[in-house]
């Protein structure tokens, strides 16, 4: 817990944990079923897709950027992978191509932002539309199914490892790797540096453009991982997949205490943030809140968290 790069107070760091704990307590009181092992596994599995994207989003936001196109990236990579598989390409090869495509789509964002000097919000707003459009063109607006019965592919979304859903295992492994990268590597440090003061970073001999391209590529790659999980779960690729996913991911990052202006934050917070959102989704269902009203509650929680965060920093 001494990730000093973020220079946040201890209180600020434990706040998301307290929030998660409070929400879980309230939900448990209202419906004790929440705490059952099977339900908790369920929550984790539901969380995994958003968490994977939010991890990547943390990197992007730490550099002072934002990516609105992740949902579309997810849809396009899912569709292309599914398309390849449906047309008989070796599933493993198809999945690798899907991952590569995700990274490329991310890199395109990064290049537009770094080299073209376009504001991240605008650049990814545009690519969000483009990638979604390409998905619709590619799928002709229809779901792609008939993906064969490759065990690896099926396991990805539906399998278990020692009783833990594979998506959750994927999430945990990704988290461990990314946590390590942010904390221990020069790349991680450079991500914080570029977000903290881009000019000073460049003048210190850091290639800020390259760092930016890398973080968007990383996010694209993670979105592709998420898309494989989703496609496997549904056994089909939906052209409308991933809509609004960017907002959940950004919300998780912000709930975790990472600053939208860049340079400050940590990925542990993002994991907790994603859990808060997942627990809310699941818990509100359990206690019988209607899906329309759930949105109101979710929004209010995010707002409350950010307001509390403000209080502490000033």
């Amino acid at each position: 817990m001494q990730l000093k790069t973020s220079n946040q107070s201890v209180l600020q760091k434990i706040a998301p944990f307290i929030g998660l704990f409070l929400i879980m307590t309230i939900i448990t009181i209202l419906n004790p079923d929440f705490l059952s092992v099977s339900n908790l596994m369920n929550v984790l599995r539901q969380v995994s897709i958003n968490a994977l994207i939010a991890f990547g989003m943390t990197f992007v936001i730490l550099t002072g950027g934002i990516d609105l196109s992740v949902g579309s990236t997810l849809a396009l990579t899912g569709a292309v992978t599914a398309g390849l598989m449906a047309s008989g390409v070796d599933p493993i090869f198809a999945m690798l191509l899907g991952l590569l495509l995700g990274a490329i789509l991310g890199a395109i964002n990064g290049i537009i932002i770094a080299k073209g000097k376009v504001a991240p919000f605008i650049a990814t707003l545009a690519t969000m539309t483009i990638y979604r459009g390409l998905t619709l063109v590619y799928t002709d607006g229809r779901p792609i199914s008939g993906l064969g019965d490759s065990l690896t592919f099926q396991m990805l979304g539906k399998g278990y490892f020692l009783g833990v859903p594979i998506p959750v295992v994927t999430m945990i492994i990704s988290f461990a790797i990314l946590y390590f990268i942010l904390k221990k590597t020069t790349f991680g440090r450079r991500v914080y540096a570029v977000g903290g003061n881009e000019e000073a970073s460049i003048l210190s001999g850091i290639n800020a453009d390259r760092i930016k391209i890398y973080v968007y590529s990383l996010l694209g790659l993670l979105a592709a991982v998420a898309s494989l999980i989703l496609t496997s779960r549904l056994n089909s690729a939906q052209p409308t997949a991933g809509e609004m996913f960017e907002l959940d991911a950004i919300a998780a990052v912000v709930l975790g205490g990472t600053s939208l202006t860049g340079g400050r934050g940590w990925i542990v917070g993002t994991l907790i943030g994603a859990l808060i959102i997942g627990v809310l989704n699941n818990g509100l269902n359990l206690i019988g809140v209607t899906s329309f009203f759930q949105q109101v509650v979710k929004g209010a929680v995010i707002l409350l968290a950010v307001l509390l965060d403000r209080k502490k920093t000033t």
């Binding site: 000093k4 790069t5 590597t185 000019e199 000073a200 210190s204």
Partner: protein, 500 residues
């Protein structure tokens, strides 16, 4: 006017002020001196309500006060010009000047822009600055932005003006007009608290002086009854000796040779040679193009023409990364925006230029990082509460040392220093000079941009003088005089006469 007694303040257990007292009389100019980190800025921030004190009392005009925000202090007639500039770069100069107290038609909120612009123009003219009030603040040099800050304080009709190192970024001429304004206002009964590390200034401007050391009050003197030596002695607690330490370097082969460098609108026809072990200074007024030359040599700004030879080989330096790999270091002019990641710890800032050295296969070695930090803190005498202290909470002078520390780690062959001792105390200045000497003695070529003429005279083997983007003189050590440099810095004959 103001009386502060027994002021104490600590930050997370680190006591920064210990029972300090300070009095300011009406109409006096009172200097506050002390080494970097002595607590001068902190004391002023306590006075103006930015920090809350742990104990002690503050009285303004005999009444106890408890400011909790700078706004309240301002209402009580106390204006502060902080060490770190507070300019919004995208707003116009006049918008900056009237920020937060814009003049409007009644309560409609509609701005009287013309009127504010006119006032801005007048206030700035009084300070000797002839600029268009509608220009964006970012178009001004750091020095001119500083003047805008000063104008801001002047325009609220404050009774007490606190200036925290106002002249650190000003040229001699700007300083002259500032002093004129200060004396003018003093006659009208305004009091000043003036923080500076420049002894000459303090002795020519101030009436009294209070000295802090390590957060403690060590003395108060009338300027007329004290001396440079006594003040330095009080500040550092020991004799300091010679201000510019001796250098025993042998000047070697040509390290860098540039020919006809040109950057449209900034400078042109810039040619010079710099040898190993040589300290070459570039003098000139603010805006003469010195920093741009440095930035272009470092690959940060594009050149529009010219040839650079490094070690006799023609090179193209198009990114700072490349410059660094060639062994060029660049201690930037503006530490807050170009030098530091202020949210980073001191250690992380020092590491920024040294990732290759402290890592293996992209993994940062905590041990190596700490070793680098330790050695730099020791070598430069940086005062921190520990490696994890945030750079933004360091005193100004110590921040400057951190920026220098960043570049010592790469063992540069050519080190460019842009105003290396700005805002640095006498003791630390000497330490920085010693470091420059040590580097030169090891054969490092030094290019030092400086607006402080005594420093140029004391340190440089040779000085290039720039005026409006051109080199107007190249003067060797034995021919250097302050007058000569100023003469060429102002573009030759005409201004040297005007100045008299």
């Amino acid at each position: 006017m103001i009386k502060m007694t027994d002021i104490s303040k600590s930050f997370s257990g680190n006591q920064v002020l210990k029972n300090v007292h300070f009095t300011l009389e009406k109409g006096e100019i009172h200097a506050l001196m002390g080494e970097n980190g002595a607590g001068k800025s902190t004391l002023m921030k306590v006075m103006s309500g930015i920090y809350t004190r742990d104990s002690g009392t503050v009285e303004v005009k005999g009444e106890k006060v408890n400011f909790t925000s700078p706004k309240q202090a301002e209402k009580a007639g106390i204006a502060v010009i902080h060490q770190e500039l507070n300019i919004l770069p995208h707003l116009s100069i006049s918008d900056n000047l009237f920020l937060g107290r814009e003049e409007t038609y009644g309560r409609t909120g509609i701005l009287k822009n013309k009127q504010m612009e006119k006032k801005t123009r007048q206030i700035l003219l009084d300070l000797g600055l002839d600029i268009n009030p509608t220009d964006p603040a970012s178009s001004l040099s750091v020095g001119k932005q500083q003047i805008v800050e000063i104008a801001k304080a002047l325009s609220v009709d404050a009774e007490v003006i606190i200036m925290d190192e106002p002249t650190a970024a000003l040229t001699d001429r700007e300083i002259d007009s500032l002093f004129k304004t200060i004396r003018e206002l003093q006659k009208r009964g305004v009091s000043f608290i003036y923080i500076s590390h420049r002894m000459e200034e303090i002795f020519s401007l101030c009436d009294r002086i209070t000295i802090l050391r390590d957060g403690e009050f060590v003395g108060e003197r009338r300027i007329s009854e004290t001396s440079f030596d006594e003040v330095v002695q009080l500040m550092v607690g020991r004799e300091l000796g010679e201000r510019y330490p001796e250098r025993k370097s042998t000047i070697g082969d040509i390290k860098l040779s540039v020919k006809d460098l040109k950057r449209t609108g900034c400078f042109e026809n810039v040619s010079f040679e710099l040898r190993k072990g040589e300290v070459l200074s570039i003098a000139g007024l603010m805006g003469a193009g010195r920093t741009e030359v440095a930035q272009s040599l470092f690959g940060y700004k594009k050149l529009d023409g010219g040839i650079i030879e490094f070690d006799g080989k023609k090179v193209k330096i198009d990114t700072p990364k490349k410059a660094k790999e060639m062994g060029i270091g660049y201690v930037t002019e503006d530490r807050k925006s170009e030098g530091l990641v202020v949210d980073f710890s001191v250690e992380e800032n020092v590491s920024m230029t040294n990732y290759e050295a402290i890592s293996k296969n992209g993994l940062i070695s905590k041990d190596k990082e700490r070793k680098l930090y330790d050695s730099m803190v020791q070598r430069l005498g940086i005062r921190t509460s520990g490696p994890d202290q945030a750079a933004k909470s360091l005193s100004g002078g110590n921040q400057q040392k951190v920026v220098i520390a960043k570049w010592l780690g790469i063992e540069p062959e050519l080190l460019i220093l842009d105003e290396p001792t700005r805002g640095v105390d006498v003791g630390a200045k000497k330490e920085i000079y010693s470091i420059i000497n040590e580097l030169a003695e090891r054969g490092v070529a030094i290019l030092m941009i400086s607006s402080e003429l005594p420093e140029v005279l004391g340190m440089a083997d040779r000085v290039l003088v720039m005026h409006e983007g051109k080199i107007t003189a190249d003067i060797p050590k034995h021919e250097m005089t302050q007058e000569r440099i100023m003469h060429f810095a102002t573009g030759g004959g005409k201004l040297a006469v005007e100045d008299q």
